[in-house]
Symmetry: C2
Subunit: 325 residues, 2 copies
């Protein structure tokens, strides 16, 4: 039987995904023959999670036509992509210096490659999504946090210590609130879903007579979600509109700094907050015109992510597929 199959793993904070695909076809389409998604098994320690990944992977191979050629692995934490070691995965217990690439490679008797979910989301969007064909592309995923990945000259750029693409920690509000990272006024601290919720909570406390529509949506909640802020803004709530516009301003300051460094052809925005689509993209593009002048903005496309939640596991598949062909 030919070595024609790849396995793709994505380990998230609450869910895991395992896909199997025919390599050649997958490079063209990003479509898995089978894709299994389920909650992270309790208690989420490395041995339990790896054990479950192995079970699912073996089952998928048993039902597939062919033999395994290689494995791509995505995880949402700091790692060393060269050695394939997960340095830290703070969402789950016990994930410190785990040689995940080696473990899965030995378990399946096939070569494996590891990268983080934001980098692999960038790779997937570049190869098969919104950034297809761009020489230089920047990907941001805006959800509870803000992460990202950088493609230069068609290749994923890692930088020293696999540190490139930490777009959430660009400073956008000088001397602003302290970020979990230690810096002040990071993009993540001003414009992530968590940050929008926090800013909205503060605004509702500070202006008791404002935000009527937003308050109605809250019910017993003490703090609105980013989605509620967006919905209230769309329904005409002025306070929510100001909060949303401010979010777009911070994103535009951050993207402006990225643009002045890299001048990418395409910027792709993904993640939960960006699922508002043009509701976010339109004010971001409008605000960019206040921050970028020397580089013609019409030459830079700001686009919604095309691959949705599956971008990391698709990217993991592509990581393997590109090494194998």
């Amino acid at each position: 039987m030919p070595h024609n199959l790849l396995l793709a793993f994505d380990i998230g904070g609450t869910k895991l995904a395992v896909g199997i695909a025919q390599i050649a076809q997958f490079r063209q389409t990003g479509t898995f023959d089978m894709l299994v998604k389920e909650p992270i098994p309790s208690p989420g320690t490395p041995d339990v999670v790896v054990q479950r990944l192995m079970e699912i992977g073996r089952q998928l191979i048993a039902n597939a036509n062919g033999q395994l050629a290689g494995i791509g692995i995505s995880i949402g934490g700091p790692l060393d992509h060269l050695t394939g070691t997960v340095l830290n995965f703070p969402h789950l217990p016990g994930w410190l210096n785990i040689p995940l690439r080696q473990q899965l490679s030995e378990a399946f008797g096939a070569p494996a490659w590891l990268d983080n979910d934001a980098n692999l989301g960038a790779l997937a969007e570049h190869r098969l999504g919104a950034g297809k064909g761009a020489d230089t592309m920047v990907y941001l995923t805006i959800s509870t946090g803000i992460g990202g990945g950088v493609i230069v000259n068609g290749k994923l750029h890692h930088g020293v210590a696999s540190g490139a693409g930490e777009m959430g920690h660009i400073t956008v509000q000088t001397d602003g609130p302290r970020c979990a990272c230690g810096n002040h006024g990071c993009l993540e601290t001003m414009a992530s879903g968590t940050a929008i919720a926090r800013r909205a909570g503060h605004a509702l406390s500070a202006y008791p007579e404002r935000g009527g529509v937003l308050r109605q949506m809250l019910g017993a909640q003490s703090q609105p979600t980013a989605q509620q802020v967006f919905a209230a803004a769309a329904a005409g709530d002025q306070l929510a509109q100001e909060l949303w516009e401010e979010t777009a301003k911070y994103l535009a300051i951050g993207l402006g700094s990225i643009i002045h460094v890299l001048a990418p052809e395409v910027i792709v925005l993904g993640g939960g907050v960006a699922q508002t689509g043009e509701g976010l993209l339109d004010p971001v593009r409008r605000n960019l015109a206040n921050h970028v002048f020397y580089i013609p903005l019409p030459s830079i496309q700001v686009l919604p992510a095309a691959l949705g939640h599956n971008s990391a596991v698709i990217g993991a598949g592509l990581l393997a597929a590109e090494r194998l062909t």
Copy 2:
């Protein structure tokens, strides 16, 4: 005779430089056989300047051993490096959409390449200076303005519309003073030589009882230069020390944003303000520790430029040399 020679031109706001070199040797050493520097001929219009470049170039060729193979050209303004057109050179009159590459190529009957001085400074520092051997390097030139260049994967990165490397227009002071570009609180507007002088002038007006040492240096001047601020700080003037520390803070915020995007191995600081050497580098490195946490700073070197004023003309020579060999 072999086609063994290259010509390198650098057109600045007040000076021009023309160098001639043996290609193979130049790639190794960056040393010109002859290097002519003189003031821009009056009135500085394109025809007068190009005429003078041709005269000097022909003279250098006449005195050299061999034949011309190609030409590298540096200029300090927005340009299209693909077509070799200078879009605008605001320091001199009449420089709008000048096909400089074509003009010099036809005049000398040899291929020519054009790029801007900051990109070519980056190229020179990467090939022969402080960034030698780095996979990813960022170069900033801090003088009256702030410019720069980006090397990724060993190659100069241009981005769309030749727009990459505009590091002076990263936002470092949200809602700060308006920059000449139109944005507010750009790195150039907070930390260039011009900005340091402006901030020092304001501080001396605002605090009439402070800055004694700095005031003594001023004499009849109304506003100190960046060099005077540095000298006064070194001499113990507290106001000057605060101004200098603030400069380092803004540079660290800007470099922090660059680091979070690219994670370069080496950051090279050149230009007049950076000629203070460790006087600037030491507080910049110290301040970086307040802004960068997720990427280990010991893996990123912040170094002084090694090639001084000649980096642009050396870069122009390398631009030609690398295309020709």
